[in-house]
Symmetry: C2
């Protein structure tokens, strides 16, 4: 307390770590009667610039009328504390932020004016530097959703997103990758595809996002089986040893702005086409990929709803990809029902493990999709003759080579572990006898999210019925898994008042 | 502390007032290891529903790892504390909020789908009930800015905004009002117009906003001379006594959603046409106005930049106004330079007082504008013959009747006071000899804001030069006023690096 009893010079305040978790939002708190704030004219909800040596951030200021904070103290959220890299009691300089110049071009974009290259780079730089408040990020994302970026804007955006982060370079000419344009619960092919193509000699340094608006992203699922927050050195050594990895991209600063944007998209619950393309390609360019296969599931309640939408998206991805020297092939797949049986991190992991083990009760649809994608990738990269890909992929699974490679990759990433099992479950029975005619994927995903996924890794939904199955009255259509009773009750209430799995008239 | 030592039942926590000023954002804080949060699966930045008896809100949750909060305590920001109306240590119920249904129509609107009547009412109701986080409000406002609402949407929005607030009714058939579509620094005609028309027997219950993105709103300016946060009973009695008032609308819950939206527009620094129309008309309909004159300044750096834009805006305002039985007349005025000499609450108030006093050095342009508007209002309401309005208005000022009425209104509102004077000033000299050829109104407003306006009422800019004036090198073009040295330095730095008053080549 001795340091804090003094009065600091100039616009400095003593840093105090509040242990306050605000997720990624940067928050600073001062006393309302703090002399620096009074002389600078800061009031609550002001944006302030905080500086510790060469590190600086812009944070949202809250003010307290209370003596739990000293007159010359600056309370910091965990996010602000980490970014400033300050020590307890260290001096932090506080000032008015300069008006963020790129925001005026973002405002222009809301009104319909495109961003030119310089404006796009300035915008992405400012976002990377933490100069945008959440409402500014929401404004930017809304403007991109309202008027889809054109090809030049998209190219500039991808380049800018790559430039502000790390970029991987590999001692090989061909680096393969895959991506699924979400919207289909349980479509967890990545760990299978990585294992298959790596076992066939290709290099696939796969980085994945966590869920945006879905109950599980690939990173969430893989994390129930091994470590995913690899640093670049570890990722590189895993790939050099095993030809593949399954890492969370966010831990590595590959297109770090993508993660910031995803956080706000999640709050807004939107996921626009242009943004999706920029997200995918920026990650892949930064990861050094040269050959990319995209899985685009199409269905009434999937993210992409029509063949025409899928084709437009495919064309744009292939075209923008080409500008970065990347060969992109898009596979339009069936998005009418969930893939596999599990929806939620651990439940999806169990499906993956069952396919790798060639288990009797494995989800055949998940296996078929993985074979399709891995086969396409083997062909696109020239590892096998055209037409041979699927056969080779299937054989790699059947022989156990894929499983071996999967386990080796997990060990290289820090160890193989068993996915957790939920403590609370509830079966959702069919109201009558009949045939399953329709799945509402969005609502099914909502049930899994209300049950706690992806935050609670064991939570989600395990689906028993498939389209076309005959079911008896009272037969469980799916089971809700949760880690807490509150969440189970929540998911159940929602599930009971919404028709999610439609069973047609008695047969 | 005895109550808090107990463990509350169910999902209840003990309320604790943190004295935390977050402006209007609703924030709640719990311990990360709080048992209710763990069982419900709440993590940082989650949205939570808080309930105290019949009052409920949705707040953003932050979490602490620290013992300054008890395990069963719920810390509340001042905004959340006020809205919940809870007592220290009282029980607050915490739960997952139901998904906010109207948000899905707002998302649809981002993608270009219009809101129908039911969706618009649901949206405005949810905003009024505090169910939207700031990013949701930013998404809604961006969608309205990106695709201007059509007439039906605007009508529904105005009606919904009126419905969720109070509505004034008057024992007179004709209630007049005026409004200026901002963008022109110093254009503070309202106190003059109210005084003139009230002195001529009309009723004008004027309510005004605070500044949105400008250095002073009418409410900010009037507040330097009298009280503006009147309750409805006081407002009514002031109008019944004096025929007019000058109140801050936000204190009265006339279209309260307007104030919420304005707060976020301010953070975003946008001010879209449709939103502006909804804002103006909802306030006027709620205030019971029947005859409205609108001042629309047009100029290169004003909010409305061309005659064509002004005419479109005028047509829309007149048309939507008609749907609410309101006669609207729009006056398109010169917006090429600031009005009066002061920019900032107290400095603008001094201009108003000089006009009322018929002072030698009064700003003639401000007087002329007030006469124009008051004259139009007198004619629109049928109080004088067509063509007589301006003459009557001028005579009301010249005779001192307007000043008398102004002072009587101020006394009725709680007393007349002298506007404050800034402690710090700095003259900005002309760099060379020449003729003043151009004002950048936006940058001039920015200087006033950096100097502290409107938060610091004495802060702002006092303009000496007018368009066409000959000036010598070193002659002050304007003076910056600030309440603190930090803000003065800030405004000065910005002013010195930006060409704000352009002085043409030596003459």
């Amino acid at each position: 307390m001795s340091a804090r009893a003094q009065v600091p010079n100039g616009n400095n305040l003593f840093a105090r770590r509040l242990g306050l978790d605000t997720h990624e939002e940067l928050v600073a708190i001062t006393r309302r009667d703090c002399p620096v704030c009074r002389s600078e004219g800061f009031s609550a909800h002001a944006r302030v610039r905080l500086k510790n040596g060469r590190r600086s951030i812009i944070a949202t200021l809250f003010q307290v009328e209370s003596d739990w904070l000293g007159l010359h103290e600056l309370g910091l959220s965990e996010s602000a504390w980490d970014r400033l890299g300050v020590d307890e009691g260290g001096l932090v300089h506080i000032s008015h932020p300069q008006p963020v110049a790129s925001l005026s071009s973002v405002r222009g974009r809301v009104y319909g004016k495109r961003l030119d290259r310089a404006q796009m780079h300035a915008t992405i730089n400012d976002i990377a530097a933490g100069r945008y408040a959440d409402v500014h990020l929401a404004m930017f994302l809304s403007s991109m959703a309202a008027r889809d970026p054109d090809d030049d804007e998209l190219t500039d955006m991808v380049q800018a997103m790559v430039d502000v982060g790390e970029r991987l370079e590999w001692p090989r000419e061909i680096i393969v990758d895959k991506h699924c344009v979400g919207g289909l619960p349980g479509n967890r092919t990545t760990p299978l595809v990585v294992s298959i193509v790596a076992a066939n000699g290709l290099w696939m340094p796969k980085t994945s996002s966590r869920a945006i608006t879905s109950p599980a992203g690939t990173a969430d699922t893989v994390e129930t089986m091994t470590r995913v927050d690899l640093d670049i050195a570890t990722l590189r050594s895993v790939v050099e040893q095993q030809g593949g990895c399954m890492a969370w991209g966010g831990a590595m600063r590959l297109s770090p702005v993508d993660d910031t944007l995803i956080r706000v998209e999640r709050l807004m619950d939107i996921d626009a086409e242009g943004q999706m393309i920029a997200s995918v390609l920026s990650k892949k360019v930064a990861a050094g990929s040269t050959h990319l296969v995209l899985d685009v599931p199409v269905g009434e309640t999937a993210k992409v709803r029509s063949q025409a939408d899928a084709e437009r998206l495919a064309a744009r991805l292939e075209q923008i990809g080409r500008r970065f020297g990347m060969k992109v092939r898009v596979l339009v797949t069936d998005g009418s029902q969930p893939v596999g049986r599990g929806i939620g991190p651990a439940l999806e992991a169990r499906d993956v493990l069952a396919v790798l083990a060639n288990a009797e009760d494995q989800p055949r649809d998940l296996r078929a999709r993985a074979v399709l994608l891995a086969g396409a990738l083997l062909e696109l990269a020239g590892a096998v003759e055209p037409g041979q890909g699927a056969g080779v992929a299937e054989e790699t699974l059947a022989s156990g080579l894929a499983r071996e490679r999967f386990e080796a990759i997990c060990r290289a990433q820090g160890g193989l572990r068993e996915p957790p099992i939920a403590g609370e479950t509830h079966d959702m029975p069919s109201a009558h006898r009949g045939v399953v005619t329709r799945f509402d994927n969005r609502r099914l995903a909502q049930v899994a999210k209300l049950a706690g996924a992806p935050g609670a890794p064991a939570a989600g939904v395990y689906v028993h019925a498939r389209l076309g199955d005959s079911v008896e009255q009272g037969q469980p259509l799916y089971t809700i898994h949760a880690e807490s009773r509150g969440e189970l009750a929540y998911a159940r209430e929602y599930a009971e008042t919404n028709g999610i799995v439609v069973v047609g008239g008695a047969s």
